[in-house]
Subunit: 211 residues, 2 copies
């Protein structure tokens, strides 16, 4: 099964992290990033109340929906349902895919983080719509991650699974192209855009590199 239209929306995926926004509001950074060519936004919040998470999600929904860009919510299926998000992204310690699918229905995107070839095969079998290969390279953004899979890890996963793959972790202007060439349909970045002096320019240049 191929997902041509989905593949293009996953090309440049911004994963948010408010702690890296250099004091700017999340919506401000996302607005800039989207103007620069980000094709998809995953809202990730780890240390705030449910109400704050909801409020951020509503702001991003309002920004992204008119542009036709998917909003994906990290972990929280209840927030995704509440705001009518386009998808959720599940880590290995979030809800199992089967539970999320039952709550979200068939049309909501479910992305799943895979730290190995086996994770990726299992996620595809369980009905994930795309896989976040994590981490591709070692990264300072997350400290609780598995060992880096590298470009070779992407190639090995690409051989085994047919759903779209998004590389995440340590991806920047110098290596994004290689991640695509190794078989990923897109890349996800956090600090390369969240912390950029101009998130718009950072996104523009990244889009140029990805081709």
């Amino acid at each position: 099964m191929t997902h041509v239209s989905m593949d293009s929306r996953l090309l440049l995926h911004l994963v948010t992290d408010r702690t890296l926004s250099r004091g700017r509001s999340l919506v401000e950074v996302v607005q800039e990033a989207v103007a620069g060519g980000v094709t998809c936004v995953q809202l990730r919040e780890k240390n705030c109340s449910t109400r704050e998470f909801l409020d951020e999600a509503l702001l991003l929904k309002e920004l992204l929906q008119p542009l036709g860009l998917p909003l994906i919510i990290n972990d929280r299926v209840d927030i995704a349902l509440s705001v009518g998000a386009d998808g959720v992204h599940l880590g290995q310690t979030d809800l199992p895919i089967s539970h999320a699918r039952r709550l979200l229905g068939p049309d909501c995107l479910i992305g799943v983080s895979a730290e190995s070839v086996d994770d990726a095969i299992e996620a595809q079998q369980q009905g994930a719509d795309y896989i976040g290969i994590s981490p591709v390279f070692s990264t300072p953004t997350k400290t609780d991650t598995a060992p880096a899979l590298g470009l070779e890890g992407i190639r090995r996963i690409r051989e085994q699974v047919q759903i779209p793959l998004v590389g995440i972790g340590g991806i920047n202007l110098t290596n994004a192209r290689q991640v695509r060439e190794a078989g990923a349909d897109g890349v996800a970045v956090v600090s390369a855009i969240m912390s950029a002096e101009s998130p718009r320019q950072a996104a523009e240049i990244m889009r140029g590199v990805l081709g």
Copy 2:
């Protein structure tokens, strides 16, 4: 509108806190507490992954459902939906009642914490099924709470709202009866049972005090 059967199920409400369980597993403490006469359990988890929260909820569901005792999930509507819980309890920084109701449907209980008469009136207007008056007395269990409402606070809320009221915060054997006499349909306890040497005996004695 009166909820006779609901009122009796709210009589003695255990709110969990794993950090107070003195090394015992949550399910072990809850099992004891239920044997002693707890009528309702609210699973509250603040520092664990979604998967751990889900797993605890599934264990409690398995324990409580055959006994006909309600399982209420604190904050996380997605966990409540996933395990088919009987209700959710929402604090003032959790999902708004309207969002939770839309996701949960009309039959799921929605309890809401009220820290003032105004909170309580608003929660009733928005469709809460019961109100957690919090805190009745000052308590060491939660450090981020509003000033204690006292027995007088319960009386004032009782005059204004018709749905069931559950007092929480600093309630123990010496004051539980007064909380009922002030107008609460039930009491919720955390440490008085979670930390008791015998949660079963603590629940039995509390039931006796409540009458």
